[in-house]
């Protein structure tokens, strides 16, 4: 039996009285690349943050490759997950942030080495070999010994991607990875993400305002509004033939804005 790689089952997320995700059902298959689009405040970032366990949820269950994440099975019963359980499941998920969040007191290489050495217990030599390979892949091998403050935004984001890959996640989450970048640096980061999407090695969930890019790399695009998934479909269908009025409005606004 095959499971979806990511599954949200009636997930409820609220900040006080404000329900940000309303009984969200949502799933992503293994190796699938899914983009999430939608207006500001619709809950796109929240979907990624609850899955990364940066935020707790108030109801429902999230599954990763068939295993519950925020719950665990004890004698056939689903109970709240222990910290150890969450850490075990979470090791399959990596996240790239809008603001990079590199560790400023470490070089690019040490940023990449941090999790392999200090979480996975790899030797320094082994971790460095792999990290250098990843930095090479994102085109930054010669910047390995630079500190984040010595790198441009685009370079920092590429290091952040390498750092995430170094922990060997199966799922990659991207939250508007290029929206904090100067326009001339957007391309270099999108290129890296495009390669990852094409490789088919990862299940990817991408929140973006770049409709062209979403259309190009995604297997499926989901439109969120008001904490619900309003519409989803193949990129060409969703962009070419939107069904819901709200999506039509959203797309016309986005296209107007350019």
């Amino acid at each position: 039996m095959t499971h979806p790689m990511i599954q949200f089952d009636k997930v409820l997320k609220a900040y006080g009285a404000l329900q940000v995700l309303k009984d969200l059902d949502f799933s992503v298959d293994n190796g699938e690349v899914v983009s999430i689009i939608g207006p500001s405040g619709s809950g796109k970032t929240t979907v990624l943050r609850v899955l990364m366990t940066l935020e707790g949820i108030q109801g429902g269950t999230m599954y990763v490759n068939g295993e519950p994440l925020n719950k665990m099975n004890v004698d056939g019963q689903l109970v709240d997950a222990s910290k150890a359980h969450i850490r075990r499941i979470r090791s399959k998920i990596g996240m790239v942030f809008q603001s990079f969040n590199l560790f400023p007191h470490m070089t690019a290489l040490d940023n990449c080495n941090e999790s392999p050495i200090h979480t996975q217990g790899k030797s320094k030599a082994e971790a460095t070999e792999e990290s250098m390979r990843l930095l090479e892949m994102v085109g930054l091998a010669e910047k390995a010994n630079h500190y984040p403050s010595q790198l441009s935004g685009g370079q920092q984001q590429r290091v952040a991607i390498a750092r995430t890959l170094a922990m060997h996640p199966e799922i990659l989450l991207f939250d508007e990875p290029t929206s904090a970048l100067d326009p001339e640096m957007v391309g270099e980061v999108l290129e890296v993400i495009r390669d990852l999407a094409k490789s088919g090695d990862y299940t990817m969930l991408l929140v973006t305002h770049q409709m062209g890019f979403a259309r190009e790399v995604s297997d499926r695009v989901c439109f969120f509004d008001g904490g619900k998934m309003v519409e989803q479909g193949k990129p060409d269908d969703l962009f070419g033939n939107p069904q819901h009025d709200r999506l039509k409005q959203f797309l016309s606004k986005v296209l107007e804005a350019g």
Partner: protein, 259 residues
Amino acid sequence: MKEPGPTNGPGNTKHLRGMSMNRIAIVSALIAFLVGMTFATFSEMRVFLPAILKGAVVTVQVSILSIALFLFMSVISGIGRLSANRPIRWASIFYIEVFRGTSLLVILFWMFFVMPEFGVTLSPMVAGVTAIGLNFGAYGAEVVRGAIAAVPKGQTEATIALNMAPYKRLTRIVLPQAIAIMIPGMSNLTIELIKATALVSAVTLVDITYAAVQQNQLHYRTVEIFFITMLLYYVFAQFVRFGGEALEEHYTRHLSKRV
């Protein structure tokens, strides 16, 4: 209001380093000059100076031990205050509130005069170091807590995304960045602490201040004696200040953009 200095804006690190080297040079020249002047002018110094220097050794001992306890308590209770573990958090808050809300001199008297009533007799040195270290540790805890809270939230989120264990998150990511933030505050407190060690004279320790009072009663060289006393405290404070600045520069060296 203070007039803005001519060129004292937030300069780059190289500029800062140049400034602090200059200041070290100026201050040491000044100290050397004043000490020389003093020796030249006050011929009777050798009558009281040895006693005062002996007091200075005691002040240094008390300071170093108290600073060690102060730093330890600051870090432990500053982190404890933010702990998810409720008993640890409450114990930290209790400690901080008790020792911040009470006078150092009164704590010192408790250690030295009241504890024996409960069967715990402390030597003047132990009483002094404990009172000062615990009192300043409570203030330091707030500096440490503030510094940890000032580390951007995104740093913690990155450690979660990288699945790091909570104690590695603290020791490898959060604390190294918090240290850079806490140094100015901690170095100010350390200077305050050194000045506050003068209070140990109240529990019979012969530190600089006590020695100065004694020598003054013997020789009546009030101006010279208290001038030297002031100078010694000033020199100790400068050591801490320069040390703090050097440490701060060390910890922030990668954080600003290279020009």
